[in-house]
Symmetry: C2
Subunit: 137 residues, 2 copies
DNA sequence: TTCTAGTTTATAATAATTCTAAAAAAAGTA
DNA sequence: TACTTTTTTTAGAATTATTATAAACTAGAA
């Protein structure tokens, strides 16, 4: 279980000043061990509900991007209308239900090794990401 | 080689009135057999250059979305900042170079069969899309 | 030719995100 | 502690991409 003190350390270690706002956002994002997906809009609603003092939208944007840069969050592009962030930063894949817009993790272990028989001249692969679109049976 | 007449037929067959604007956009998108990727912004620039009479931006949006709905175009979500469309509507995958923002097709045949050992209750897979991110060697 | 539904257009509206500049807070220093 | 510097936060403005609106136009049918 992550506590305030650990977040302060985490922030300081990555060169981010542990401000009140950043610590609060850490608590919302990283307190429970379960990872989850969110949009900026959803996050700002959660923060508005959970926290006594409001955090400005600009700060939420700044912080999410700072956390992404530091590798504490991953951005996922599923469809154009919504941009999701993921607190699970390990390499993994996703299921996406276009109807419900629901996003579910698909762990690396649940996918057989992917063999790609083509390469681009002068380029090497940095990651292989799978998006499995699902619909109702 | 696709000609104007074919586009008129194509449009009519799918219940879209073959208007001057739609035919012009067809010509830009489907005239040459090579498929390609574009953003709305790029498309509107191409149209502005190639065509004597201007087509309003709203019409370009409408038309691209109509074509997508009819299956003549596919939308690809690679990253948040740009939304790409693809004139290659067959099932295939992509390479993406985050540095140059270059998008390259990866055909289905160049990927070994993907085995996913997890399923979501009540859902079935409708598609499996791979995004291979590349960087300079 | 006339009529009608579908389409295009300019413009306004909306939404998401970034920018800006001033105020506030954190860290460093004496 | 008090002072200084640097970073961060903030509200609101600016920007950008996209969608909505309503009037003018057009393709196709009668």
């Amino acid at each position: 279980m992550n506590s305030k003190g650990n977040f302060v350390k985490k922030l300081r270690n990555s060169g981010l000043r542990p401000t009140k706002q950043r610590i609060k956002i850490c608590e919302v994002l990283f307190k429970n061990e379960k990872t989850f997906h969110f949009t900026i809009n959803e996050l700002s609603k959660i923060i508005a509900e959970k926290i006594e003092e409001k955090i400005s939208l600009a700060t939420i944007y700044n912080t999410v991007h700072a956390f992404k840069k530091k590798g504490y969050l991953k951005e996922i592009s599923i469809n154009t209308d919504k941009s999701y962030f993921d607190t699970n930063t390990s390499h993994h894949h996703h299921f996406f239900d276009n109807l419900t817009k629901e996003l579910t993790d698909l762990s690396n272990e649940d996918v057989e090794k992917i063999q790609i028989n083509k390469s681009l001249p002068g380029k090497k692969i940095s990651s292989v990401e799978i998006l499995v679109k699902v619909e109702n049976e």
